[in-house]
């Protein structure tokens, strides 16, 4: 089951560039939350702070409190522990090219030393079914490289890979922006089903996508969160003028 995320006074920097400023936000458990905003507004940096991937860049730094359930991820745990509980799907599909489909899906388990064959088999089937890819690949699991799949299939495999470690939160950084419309709608259907079990945070440039999949939406601009509310409210009756300008296409 997913957990809620509480963010207090989160600030992040790349070198001297203050990319996130005083973000305060509560992301409810087992819901999908969309983050929208123009390029460079800090929404990717924000999700990367939620699994401490931000700090893998040597010039990056972050301060503030991020609580996942009861755990303060910057105080109570190591980055590695946090990333095992928070799955991430990236903008472009990034399968491990030397691994079979099977090994890609359970890579998070295998690379952390997990070797029980029966459980690995079950995890592969369960994760690929959750990612709506099982029927398409079940005959080639160990024969084909993960990189031999189509772009849309690769992205669903990457979702299966994130689900295989049984995370509580799933971060998706523009998961469909490199995909065609058919694959995109498959990914959206998937998000719709997954949010009953996981807390999902999805960054998107596509406002229709946000409206379709997310209960809540946050609007980012220039490193600040301008507005956070139910998706319906954001798209029909935003409080802030800047939000209204953005969603009506006046800039961005």
């Amino acid at each position: 089951m997913g957990v809620g995320i509480l963010v207090e006074d989160l600030n992040a920097w790349y070198g001297s560039n203050h990319t996130l400023q005083d973000i305060n936000l509560h992301i409810p458990a087992n819901h999908a939350t969309a983050l929208i905003g123009p390029s460079g507004c800090g929404k990717s940096t924000f999700v990367r702070c939620l699994n401490r991937m931000h700090e893998t860049n040597p010039i990056a730094r972050a301060t503030g409190i991020v609580k996942m359930g009861e755990i303060d991820i910057y105080k109570d745990a190591s980055p590695v522990e946090i990333r095992r509980r928070v799955g991430m799907v990236f903008q472009r599909p990034n399968p491990f090219p030397t691994m079979s489909i099977y090994d890609n899906v359970v890579s998070g388990l295998k690379l952390n030393g997990f070797r029980n064959r029966r459980i690995l088999d079950e995890t592969v089937e369960r994760s690929l079914k959750s990612a709506a890819l099982w029927e398409e690949v079940k005959d080639d699991l160990k024969k084909k490289s993960g990189a031999s799949l189509s772009g849309g299939q690769q992205q669903r495999m990457c979702i299966a890979r994130a689900l295989a470690v049984d995370p509580e939160v799933l971060l998706m950084d523009e998961p469909a922006s490199a995909l065609d419309p058919v694959s995109t709608s498959k990914i959206e259907d998937l998000i719709f089903q997954l949010k009953s079990q996981y807390t999902i945070v999805i960054v998107t440039h596509n406002m229709q996508q946000a409206a379709r999949v997310a209960e809540n939406t946050g609007f980012f601009l220039n490193g600040k969160m301008v507005e956070f509310d139910s998706t319906h409210k954001i798209f029909t009756n935003p409080r802030d003028k800047r939000t209204e300008d953005y969603i009506t296409g006046r800039f961005g």
Partner: protein
């Protein structure tokens, strides 16, 4: 409209011609590259094949004036020295390359290692032989297979280090992020993802380094020294194919010249066979559609 179509057609004719011309150049260049290799191989077969017989692979060199004899001890000796060199040179070379690519970016130590490797690559092999002579042989007070292995290992390291670094740099950042994002520790990501993904290139680098030192004579002159008899001791002088070829080639005897040709043929075939075997072995686990 008419003018436009005509100029497009002219353009297309010119492009076709250019394409044909450049393709021909590329094929010619390939022939020029391959020709010497084929020529050397055939000349070696022509000169050396007639002296190859079972005795060549089973007997040690015959005393002067006595017919027959072989290079069995040199073949085994070369195998021992090259195994020693690979056991020392490959792990050190790869480890240094991993440091440069994954940990030492922009650091003083990283730049120092990179510079040292490049300089080391340019050190003449005879200088390497003399250096190991004074560092190892003089200390031990005798020549040894071990000293020869060290000399060749040091010659292998720079090539392997730089290839490893370059091959790791071609591994997409997105793949490392994928592993880190799954909660895989950095060291494990480096070993199981970066190195694994770059392994075909790294293996090529190791093979290049191996093939290069397998034929080296100069670094062995003052270290392994050579031996006319059987020796399996790492702490004693040992025979090596390049050394034996050298000794026979500068001798005044026709019989020995023929044996030197045969030795050269065996050496080159051994290098080709070992490189091919490693390739086959390394490709065995490849999957369909692997990029």
């Amino acid at each position: 409209m008419d003018f436009q179509t005509r100029s497009m057609r002219l353009n297309s004719a010119r492009r076709t011609a250019t394409n044909y011309f450049v393709s021909t150049l590329a094929v010619l260049a390939t022939v020029v590259v391959i020709a010497p290799l084929v020529a050397i191989l055939f000349y070696l077969i022509y000169m050396g094949a007639s002296s190859l017989n079972l005795a060549f692979f089973t007997h040690i060199p015959a005393p002067v004036g006595e017919a027959g004899g072989g290079m069995a001890n040199s073949i085994v000796g070369s195998g021992i020295i090259l195994t020693l060199a690979s056991l020392m040179g490959i792990p050190i070379g790869i480890a240094a390359g991993v440091y440069l690519a994954e940990f030492g970016q922009g650091k003083m130590l990283g730049n120092a290692i990179r510079f040292t490797a490049d300089v080391l690559n340019g050190v003449p092999s005879i200088v390497m032989g003399i250096s190991i002579y004074s560092l190892v042989v003089m200390q031990q007070k005798h020549f040894s297979a071990f000293a020869g292995g060290i000399a060749l290992a040091i010659m292998m390291v720079p090539t392997i280090t730089r290839t490893t670094e370059e091959m790791l740099a071609t591994v997409p950042h997105a793949i490392r992020e994928a592993a880190l994002g799954l909660g895989v520790p950095k060291w494990r990501t480096v070993v199981s993802i970066s190195l694994r993904t770059a392994s075909p290139g790294i293996i090529t680098g190791c093979m290049l380094a191996f093939a290069r030192v397998a034929g080296e004579t100069a670094p062995l002159l003052f270290t392994a020294f050579g031996n006319q008899f059987w020796s399996f001791h790492l702490n004693e002088p040992i025979a090596a194919l390049p050394l034996q070829i050298f000794v026979y080639a500068i001798s005044p005897y026709d019989e020995w010249h023929r044996l030197a040709w045969a030795g050269a043929l065996v050496l080159i075939v051994m290098i080709m066979v070992s490189v091919t075997l490693v390739r086959i072995f390394a490709n065995r686990g490849a999957l369909k559609g692997e990029s």
